[in-house]
């Protein structure tokens, strides 16, 4: 591309970005989502410091008690403070959400891009492999990962990332495939630009929209998946907690100790709610007229 055309292309990109940002800000639900998410994240980071309670200390004789002055959200069966546990659990859940999504992105993006770009045989083989992995029992995979990779909480996000990258790859592949047929790609190829550069400069920036949207929507999906893992007993280990662990335990006692469910579930749901609406807002903003 000539210098002039490059500059005007950059200018276009900037104004498109600004355009998208304006649209996003005008979206009422996305705004609400954004505010909610920021508030919750801040609470999770700072909240536990504000409280005098800890998340791990048990008080067996005290047991499960409803909210009180000492324990703003009440206590669980071992007398642990739910306010602090919910917020520290939030750190884990949100952290795992971002981390796993990141893992899914770094694996899925290049994989999908390569598959979609080279198309033909390569694409077929690569995507068949993805199809095969899709069908594998998730339970076994997580069991294996937990056994081989040791006991840290970070392996949870590895396990989840190992599953989510498949859908990410599919999305990226679809986008790349559609774009590679464009005329200026052929022109670049004829000009002798390397494949990598084409991918980096022309294809990926144009896929950015759907990729950003999908990434944002993967985070709540991961948080949800972590809670399902907790249901299976494969989640985060005590005394650490995550929202998944808390709402699993709370759901069993919904009729006798409702506060054990209500507070973590509220945080959990509002976070998912917020992230989903931010994602939807991004989709509306970045891709208002295109079809999926």
């Amino acid at each position: 591309m000539t210098k002039q055309r490059r500059e005007s292309a950059a200018a276009d990109a900037r104004s498109l970005g600004q355009d998208a940002w304006e649209r996003l800000c005008a979206n009422r639900m996305a705004q609400l989502g954004g505010v909610l998410f920021i508030v919750i994240t801040l609470l999770c980071l700072i909240g536990p410091i504000l409280s005098s309670q800890t998340s791990a200390e048990t008080n067996l004789a005290y047991g499960a008690q409803p909210p009180s002055a000492d324990h703003w959200f009440g206590t669980d069966d071992l007398g642990r403070d739910i306010f602090v546990r919910t917020l520290t659990g939030g750190r884990i859940s949100i952290g795992v959400g971002f981390a796993a999504t990141f893992v899914a992105l770094i694996i899925g993006l290049p994989y999908g891009a390569l598959a979609g770009y080279f198309a033909g045989r390569t694409d077929t083989i690569m995507m068949r492999f993805v199809d095969a992995l899709y069908a594998l029992p998730f339970t076994i995979i997580v069991v294996l990962l937990t056994t081989f990779l040791g006991r840290s909480v970070w392996l949870i996000f590895l396990a989840i990332g190992a599953v989510e990258w498949l859908t990410m790859a599919r999305i990226v592949r679809g986008q790349t495939r559609a774009l590679r047929k464009l005329a200026y790609i052929d022109a670049a190829k004829v000009n002798g630009v390397s494949h990598l550069k084409i991918l980096r400069r022309h294809i990926l920036p144009n896929c950015l929209g759907p990729i950003i949207v999908y990434t944002t929507l993967t985070i709540p999906a991961v948080i949800l998946l972590e809670s399902v893992l907790s249901f299976l007993g494969l989640g985060v280990q005590p005394p650490m907690s995550s929202w998944g662990v808390l709402i699993n335990e709370g759901a069993k006692k919904i009729d006798i100790y409702p506060w054990q469910l209500i507070f973590p579930a509220l945080f959990f749901s509002l976070t998912l709610f917020a992230l989903n609406f931010i994602g939807d807002g991004l989709r509306d903003a970045l891709d208002p007229k295109g079809t999926k």
Binding site: A132, L133, A135, T139, L144, T147, S227, I247, A251, T291
Partner: protein, 305 residues
Amino acid sequence: MLTHIARRFLQAIPTLWLIATLTFLLLYLAPGGPFDEEKPVAPEIKEQIEAHYGLNLPLHQQYFRFMGNLLHGELGPSYKYAGWNVDEIIRQSFPVSLELGGFALLIALVIGIPIGVFAALRHGRLSESFLMSFAMIGICLPAFVLGPLLLLVFSSALSWFNPLGWSVASDRVLPALTLGLFYAAYIARLSRSGMLDVIQQDYIRTARAKGLTESRIVNIHALRTALYPVVAYLGPAIAGLISGSFVVETIFFIPGLGQFFVNSAFNRDYTLVMGTVLFYAVLILLFNLLVDLLQMWMNPRTRND
């Protein structure tokens, strides 16, 4: 069309082979075996048990044996449930999962599509936000929270439904709701965005200019194209509904295949894991094919390949 179908069938074979092989490897690598018990068994006894099931053979021999059986269509006996064959188990429990999935899908469509369409038609107004927020309940509350919640209200408090089981017709309602609301949320979103895309299209403006009534526009022109992404989503949705029913089946005590799918992995019931994985794989491939065909029928322009 026929060549496409034939090609998909042919492509399915290596995929299924890959799935079988990968699953086999995963099971081989997983610690613990089907016959490990709390009170451990004398090594000689363990040898006998393993010999019975061919588990003491070297890896490649086990693999060929297993592959050979598969090619003959034999899924083998369950290792955990003595006396039961894998295909027997699948035959007994799949219809239940299918019914559950079917009702859940029905609920997802019946709730999701109208919400999404109405929200799109009220784009920019407060009612759109309310509608979409309501739809989000399914995504924001996982099944193991939604289920007990619904049970608390409709079963414990109001006594309208049994707390579990699959015997009476009304037993279908709460589980299907629990399972379906999640997909209802996605379908609502897709319907809304699909509808929004379509409404702003030129040909809709033309139809309006021609003076067609609003409902005709919605029903005939817009809806068909708007539901296109919903149809595309049906493939993964159906797969998810049928294989992801584990949580709902556990909470509501439903004898479906989902429980076997997950528990067989925990039990290291090698044959049952393999059988359910392959069964689901075939189903998913089949449903994806059907959905693709449906899409092609709805919009001939998407026929690529």
